[in-house]
């Protein structure tokens, strides 16, 4: 289908890291079913190195929601938390060879899902973090503005 790039379709058809991590160290969930997109991301963190050793996702949403989730997990797997927090929606879009304009919000959700999972890990481990890691308001309209 011409709507999406080959890369998007590949990640949609064969999503990487789908599933749950029963023993996750952090879980982030963003979006809401009303708006048609929910991403839940599970991370496993090595406390010694702060490296994300495993990551999984569950997503309810359109093709690009699934593809951006998949790509985001690939991009943060094996990376230190600090790098994961730097993952921008733009990087996800680029890694997917682009997204249609009306689907950019999915890449924002993926970025937010990663941050939410890291925040959850920090919270659980009582690690302080700054304002810049404040949660997404979870309201789709908020994410309506262009990030990429």
């Amino acid at each position: 289908m011409a709507l999406y790039s080959e890369k998007v379709m590949d990640h949609f058809r064969n999503p990487r890291n789908v599933g749950k991590l029963e023993d996750a160290d952090g879980i982030g969930e963003v979006g809401n079913a009303k708006c048609g997109d929910i991403m839940r991301m599970y991370i496993k963190v090595d406390p010694a190195t702060n490296v994300i050793t495993d990551v999984k996702f569950n997503t309810f949403g359109c093709g690009s929601a699934i593809a951006t989730s998949s790509m985001a997990t690939e991009l943060i797997k094996g990376k230190p938390l600090s790098e994961a927090l730097e993952l921008s929606n733009k990087a996800v879009v680029e890694a997917l060879d682009g997204l249609p304009a009306q689907k950019l919000h999915c890449s924002v959700l993926a970025e937010e899902a990663v941050r939410a999972a890291v925040r959850d890990y920090y919270d659980k481990n009582e690690i302080a973090y700054g304002d810049e890691l404040r949660p997404c308001e979870g309201h789709c309209d908020t994410c309506g503005h262009e990030h990429a």
Binding site: L3, M9, V18, D37, F60, G61, G63, A65
Partner: protein, 395 residues
């Protein structure tokens, strides 16, 4: 296997329609407004097409105006009735919440121009009642517009009853029959319809041809100004090939209507039975009062677009109520009007069949769909919450 199950979106042009069009491209290519023989031959074809639509709708040829499609016909119908109403100081219009955007957006434009619009609620089975219309009538109502059959959920509205209520009240009645024309019998006299729109590409005619029926005595206002075509009411050189194809397609669709209905209804019902056997799946719209080819269900816990994409990978062309592609995040206004919660409305699937579909295709759909639904549910955090009891099932 390839299955085209999106006939409510558009249909393939039939052999009959194509054969009616072909001579108009390079042989009878004159301009019907021209005085000379090549032009008059085209004018004759145009007249024959007009006669045919008139005969099939039980109208007279002067009541038939050709437009560029269903949308234009809808726009012109509403604007004409509104202009007539305004002249009499009547500026209230009644329609429904689940009309096509060609109606809803024109009504919004009319609201900006000073009209008041009442949109009727949609009962859970997707069929509005003549009583609802009667109850909404005001002394300043100039127009009632209710679609013949809904384009998403396929439910058939009680057009004759609504026509009777309107006629009794002396209010013009328009019906958007884009989904019904060629699929359900339409007699504008018997049903007391004053204005009606249809679109050729929904019944194996070509894209880009619509018809506006307007009862004698209802003056049309121009949507497009210019030349004197269509008795001055629709400017622009007539699309003669398209119009001839439209007429041929309509003739055939009307001729074989009962046959197609008898063929499609069991296929539709089998599909409905098979799909609603999937847990937490619901049929949208009344099971009986629906177009013979329409199936529309909601699967809880998944989202329509990914379903469509995976179906497409398996060769199935279908559609979803979700307006994903249009850039909007909102789910179908039709399903919301029907009372489906947002989260459920996102997971809708419309399969619209035509007589070209085979029983084998239905079996194939029933084989692939449960698999895909399970696959997506397994990936869905919403389904996870539903199954683990953290969220209550809505269907």
């Amino acid at each position: 296997m390839n299955v085209y199950a999106d006939n409510a979106a558009t249909t393939a042009v039939s052999k009959t329609a194509l054969e009616a069009m072909l001579p108009c491209f390079q042989e009878v290519y004159g301009n019907p407004s021209s005085l000379h023989s090549p032009g008059q031959r085209a004018a004759e074809k145009l007249a024959a097409a007009r006669d045919l639509f008139a005969r099939r709708l039980n109208a007279s040829p002067r009541e038939i105006t050709f437009t560029s499609g269903g949308s234009e016909a809808d726009n012109q119908a509403l604007r004409s009735a509104a202009a007539l109403g305004a002249r009499k100081g009547k500026k209230h219009i009644i329609s429904t919440k689940f009309e096509h955007h060609a109606i809803l957006h024109t009504l919004s434009a009319l609201e900006k121009e000073g009209f008041t619009v009442t949109l009727l609620d949609i009962p859970p089975e997707g069929v509005v009642t003549a009583e609802q219309v009667r109850a909404a009538l005001r002394t300043d109502t100039c127009l009632v517009s209710v679609m013949f059959a809904n384009n998403e959920i396929g439910t058939i509205q009680p057009i004759g009853e609504i026509g009777a209520v309107c006629r009794e009240a002396g209010v013009l009645f328009h019906t958007d029959a884009v989904q019904a024309a060629g699929h359900l019998p339409i007699d504008v006299e018997a049903l007391q319809i004053d204005l009606l729109s249809l679109s050729a590409h929904k019944f194996h005619g070509p894209k880009g041809v619509g018809v506006l029926y307007a009862r004698k005595g209802i003056p049309l206002v121009n949507v497009i100004y210019g030349g004197a075509q269509e008795r001055g009411k629709r400017a622009g050189t007539e699309n003669v090939p398209g119009i001839c194809g439209a007429a041929a397609a309509f003739d055939e669709a009307c001729e074989k209507m009962a046959e197609h209905q008898a063929y499609l209804t069991p296929l539709r019902d089998k599909l409905i039975a098979g799909l609603t056997a999937i847990p937490h799946t619901v049929l949208n719209g009344d099971a009986q009062r629906r177009l013979p080819g329409n199936v529309n269900v909601c699967f809880e816990g998944i989202e329509g677009e990914s379903l469509l994409l995976l179906l497409d990978d398996r060769g199935v062309a279908a559609s979803s109520g979700s307006a994903c592609t249009s850039g909007s995040l909102d789910p179908s206004h039709v399903l919301l009007a029907l009372g489906r919660p947002h989260e459920v409305a996102h997971g809708s699937l419309r399969l619209s069949l035509c007589e070209y579909n085979t029983p084998e295709e239905i079996d194939y759909l029933l084989a692939v769909l449960p698999e895909i639904v399970s696959y997506l549910r397994n990936m869905s955090p919403v389904w996870d919450e539903l199954e683990t009891g953290r969220r209550p099932h809505l269907i």
